[in-house]
C-alpha cells in the first residue's frame, strides 16, 4: 500500500505538449507510471509519444478513464487547469507549475475545497510511490520502496533527505511534495493523516522551512493523533532576519515563522528533529528506534 498514487493510477497530463510537460511525461513513463492521456486545448486528436491528446480533461477522462492529473500548464492558465481537473471529478490533481498569481489561487483553492478532487501543490515536485508510480519532476533513482512516508514543502531538499534515507536502507512508502507557495492544496496534516492510516507506512519524515505556521500546526496534530514515529528537519536556522515577508503577515501567524520556534514546537510534540541537514537520515533512524 501507499498513499495517493500506486501502480494502478491512470494519469493524464495537462500541458503535455509543452517542453517540460513532455520531458517529464517521458521521465514518468520510463519510471513505470501509467500515462494514459494528455490535455492541451487546441491540440486534441493528435498523439504525442503514442499518448492521445485531448482538448479537455472531461474528454480525456471519458475516453481513457484517467483518475489523476499532473499539471504543467504555464502560470496564466494554471489555476484554470486545476479547476478543470476538479470539474472533471478526478481523484487527485498534482500541480507542478511555479508562479501562479495568489489572487488566482485564492479562488481556485476555494472551489477545489468544495470538490471531491484532492490538490497537491502548486509549485511542488509532485508525488512518488517508489517502484510503482512517479507523478512529478523528482529524480526517480534516489527513491527505494519501503516504509517511510515523506512530506515536504521543499523540492531539492526533499531529494537530499530521500537520498539519505535510501543510503541508510530506509525505503519510502510515498513521498509528497506539498509545495512552497503561500496557497497550496494538501497541507502537512492532510498528508500525515493518510500516512497514519496507511498500514504500510511505519514512520514519517517531515521537511519544513521558515515562514508561516504550518509546521507548528502539524506538530500539534502529531502530538494528538500520530501513532507512528516522526522525524523532521527545518531549513533556515541561519536565515537572516530583515528580509521580511510583508508587514501584516507576521501578525496572522502570531509571531511564528522562525526556524527555532518550529524546531522547539516539534520537539515538544515528540518529534525527533535533525539539527543538521547532513543527518536527516540518522534522525529518522533514531525516531524509529525510540
Amino acid at each position: 500500500m501507499s498513499i495517493l498514487i500506486n501502480s494502478n493510477s491512470k494519469i493524464l497530463v495537462q500541458g503535455i505538449t509543452g517542453k517540460s510537460g513532455l520531458f517529464h511525461t517521458q521521465q514518468c513513463r520510463a519510471y513505470g507510471s501509467q500515462i494514459v492521456a494528455g490535455v492541451t486545448p487546441g491540440k486534441g486528436g493528435v498523439h504525442i509519444e503514442g499518448i492521445p491528446v485531448f482538448n479537455t480533461v472531461e474528454e480525456a477522462v471519458h475516453y481513457t478513464g484517467a483518475t489523476v492529473s499532473m499539471i504543467f500548464v504555464p502560470p496564466p492558465g494554471a489555476a484554470d487547469a486545476i479547476l478543470e481537473a476538479c470539474d472533471a471529478g478526478l481523484e487527485l490533481a498534482v500541480c507542478i507549475t511555479e508562479g501562479i498569481p495568489v489572487r488566482d489561487m485564492v479562488l481556485a483553492r476555494a472551489i477545489q475545497e468544495r470538490s471531491k478532487t484532492l490538490l497537491v501543490g502548486p509549485n511542488c515536485p509532485g508525488v512518488i510511490t517508489p517502484g510503482q508510480c512517479k507523478l512529478g519532476i523528482m529524480p526517480g533513482y534516489i527513491h527505494t520502496p519501503g516504509k517511510v512516508g515523506v512530506v515536504s514543502r521543499s523540492g531539492t531538499l526533499t531529494y537530499e533527505a530521500v537520498k539519505q534515507l535510501t543510503d541508510l536502507g530506509l525505503g519510502q512508502s510515498t513521498c509528497v511534495g506539498i509545495g512552497g507557495d503561500p496557497i497550496i492544496g494538501m497541507k502537512y496534516i492532510d498528508v500525515l493523516k493518510r500516512f497514519n492510516d496507511d498500514p504500510e507506512t511505519e514512520a514519517v519524515f517531515m521537511i519544513g522551512e521558515i515562514g508561516g505556521g504550518a509546521e507548528e500546526e502539524a506538530a500539534y496534530w502529531i502530538q494528538e493523533h500520530m501513532k507512528k514515529p516522526v522525524a523532521a528537519f527545518i531549513a533556515g536556522v541561519t536565515a537572516p532576519p530583515g528580509k521580511r515577508m510583508g508587514h501584516a503577515g507576521a501578525i496572522i501567524t502570531g509571531g511564528k515563522g522562525k526556524a527555532e520556534d518550529k524546531i522547539r514546537t516539534l520537539q515538544e510534540c515528540g518529534v525527533v528533529v535533525s539539527t543538521s541537514p547532513t543527518r536527516m537520515g540518522e534522525a529518522m533512524q533514531e525516531a524509529i528506534k525510540k
Binding site: V102, I137, S154, T156, Y159, H247, G255, S276
Partner: protein, 387 residues
C-alpha cells in the same frame, strides 16, 4: 515587489481613497517649492523601501519652506538606517512633501493574505501609527480581523462592522465603509500581497485620510501589469540582486565570505545552515531554481564572483534528472571567463555525475569535489582556512 509610499498613495487615490495633498521631489529646490505650496507648515518624508523612517529621522514636520529645504539637503543622498533596512541603510533619492494635518484619531487598516485560511484577510485596529506587530504583542484584543470569502467578496455590512469596531459613528463611519470596500477592490485589481494604511486618520475637521501607505505587489502577478516594472526604484535594491533578478535567480547578499550557489530554496537555506555548522560564513543566498540549467549556473557563478567579499565558492546542485556533466561545463565556462582563481568546492548529484566530476578535476580550476553535503561544507571551510 515593493513600491514607495508616494506611489502607493497615487494608487489608493485612484480608488477614491483620500490622501493628503502632496508633491514628490527629487531636489532640495523642489522640496522648498513643495513646502511653499503647502503653506510652509508641512511634513517632509524620505522615500525608502522600508518602514521605521520616523524614528530614524526620515519624517519630520517643518514650519517654513527654508527649513524644508535645509532638511532636504541633509536627507538627499544620505543612507537612512531603520530597523528594517539592515546596517547599511537605504539611500534617499526622493522626498515626499505633504500638507500637515490636524489629527483627531489614528487607526490601522490592511488587507493581506492569510496563508492558513488561503484567503485574503482584513486587519483593523484602533491603535494606529504604531507597528501592528507591536499591537499584536501588547494588546491583541484591539485587533479586528476578517477573513474574506472569495465567492461573496467583502460585503458592505462586514466593512461596517469593522468601522463600528474602530469606534467610528455617523458620516465618517460610512466614509470608512466605502474606504474599506475600495481598499479590497484595489487589493484584488492590483494583485497586491499587502495594502496597508497606517495610520488612517480622522482629521479635526472630520475627514478620513490615508496618512501613510504601503503596497507590495504579488511577484507572480507582475506579468499582467505592464506598468509595474517601470515603478521599481533600483536605487533601493542591491545591484547584484538586480542582476540576479534579470536572470530569474533569487539572490540575497549576506555578510560572510563563502559564495554559495544552490538549486532550490530549501536546499539553499539548508546549505547555509551546514556551512555555519562547520564554522563557515556564507556570503550570499543564491537559488538557481530547482531545475538549474547550464546558462543559469554560469550566470549565477558570475554574479557570486562580482561580490568582492567572496573568497571561496561552494556549489551544491542536487540535479537529479539534470545531467551533472552539463552543469560542470557551465561552472567551468563561467570560472574561466572571469578568470576565477578562488577555491571552489562542488557537490553534485544527478545523472552522469562521474563525468561531471572528471570534467571539473581536469579543468585546471582550484576545485575539490564534495561527496555529500557535509563533506562539501567541510572541504570549503578547510580550503578557505589554508588559502
Amino acid at each position: 515587489m515593493n513600491i514607495h509610499e508616494y506611489q502607493a498613495k497615487e494608487i489608493l487615490s485612484t480608488y477614491g481613497i483620500p490622501v493628503p495633498r502632496n508633491r514628490v521631489a527629487l531636489t532640495a529646490d523642489q522640496v522648498e517649492r513643495g513646502a511653499k505650496m503647502m503653506g510652509g507648515h508641512c511634513v517632509v518624508k524620505a522615500q525608502i523601501y522600508a518602514g521605521g523612517r520616523g524614528k530614524a529621522g526620515g519624517v519630520k514636520v517643518v514650519h517654513h519652506p527654508e527649513q524644508a529645504a535645509e532638511l532636504a539637503k541633509e536627507l538627499f543622498g544620505k543612507r537612512l538606517v531603520t530597523p528594517q533596512t539592515g546596517p547599511e541603510g537605504l539611500k534617499v533619492r526622493r522626498i515626499l512633501v505633504e500638507e500637515a494635518v490636524e489629527i483627531a484619531r489614528e487607526f490601522y487598516l490592511s488587507i493581506t493574505l492569510d496563508r492558513e485560511q488561503s484567503r485574503y484577510c482584513l486587519i483593523a485596529s484602533a491603535e494606529g501609527g504604531v507597528e501592528i506587530e507591536e499591537v499584536a504583542r501588547k494588546a491583541p484584543e484591539k485587533i479586528h480581523m476578517l477573513t474574506i470569502d472569495p465567492f461573496t467578496g467583502l460585503r458592505t455590512y462586514q466593512a461596517r462592522k469593522i468601522a463600528l469596531a474602530l469606534g467610528l459613528t455617523g458620516g465618517v463611519c460610512e466614509d470608512c465603509v466605502e474606504l474599506i470596500l475600495n481598499l479590497y477592490k484595489c487589493c484584488l485589481e492590483k494583485d497586491c500581497s499587502l495594502v496597508e494604511i497606517n495610520p488612517l486618520v480622522v482629521t479635526r475637521a472630520g475627514w478620513l485620510l490615508a496618512m501613510d501607505a504601503k503596497i507590495s505587489f504579488d511577484d507572480n502577478a507582475v506579468y499582467r501589469h505592464r506598468e509595474y516594472p517601470d515603478m521599481v526604484d533600483y536605487s533601493q535594491l542591491d545591484p547584484l540582486e538586480i542582476t540576479a533578478g534579470k536572470y530569474d535567480l533569487a539572490y540575497i547578499k549576506l555578510t560572510g565570505n563563502i559564495g554559495c550557489m544552490v538549486n532550490g530554496a530549501g536546499l539553499a537555506m539548508a546549505t547555509l545552515d551546514v556551512l555555519k555548522e562547520y564554522g563557515g560564513e556564507p556570503a550570499n543566498f543564491l537559488d538557481v531554481g530547482g531545475g538549474a540549467t547550464r546558462e543559469k549556473v554560469a550566470e549565477a557563478f558570475k554574479i557570486i564572483l562580482q561580490d568582492s567579499d567572496v573568497q571561496a565558492v561552494f556549489v551544491n546542485i542536487f540535479g537529479g534528472i539534470m545531467r551533472c556533466d552539463v552543469i560542470a561545463q557551465g561552472i567551468i565556462e563561467a570560472a574561466n571567463e572571469v578568470k576565477c582563481l578562488l577555491p571552489i568546492v562542488v557537490r553534485m548529484d544527478g545523472s552522469n555525475v562521474e563525468d561531471g566530476k572528471q570534467l571539473l578535476l581536469e579543468s585546471g580550476l582550484n576545485v575539490q569535489i564534495g561527496d555529500n553535503l557535509g563533506d562539501g561544507a567541510q572541504k570549503i571551510v578547510a580550503m578557505l582556512a589554508t588559502a
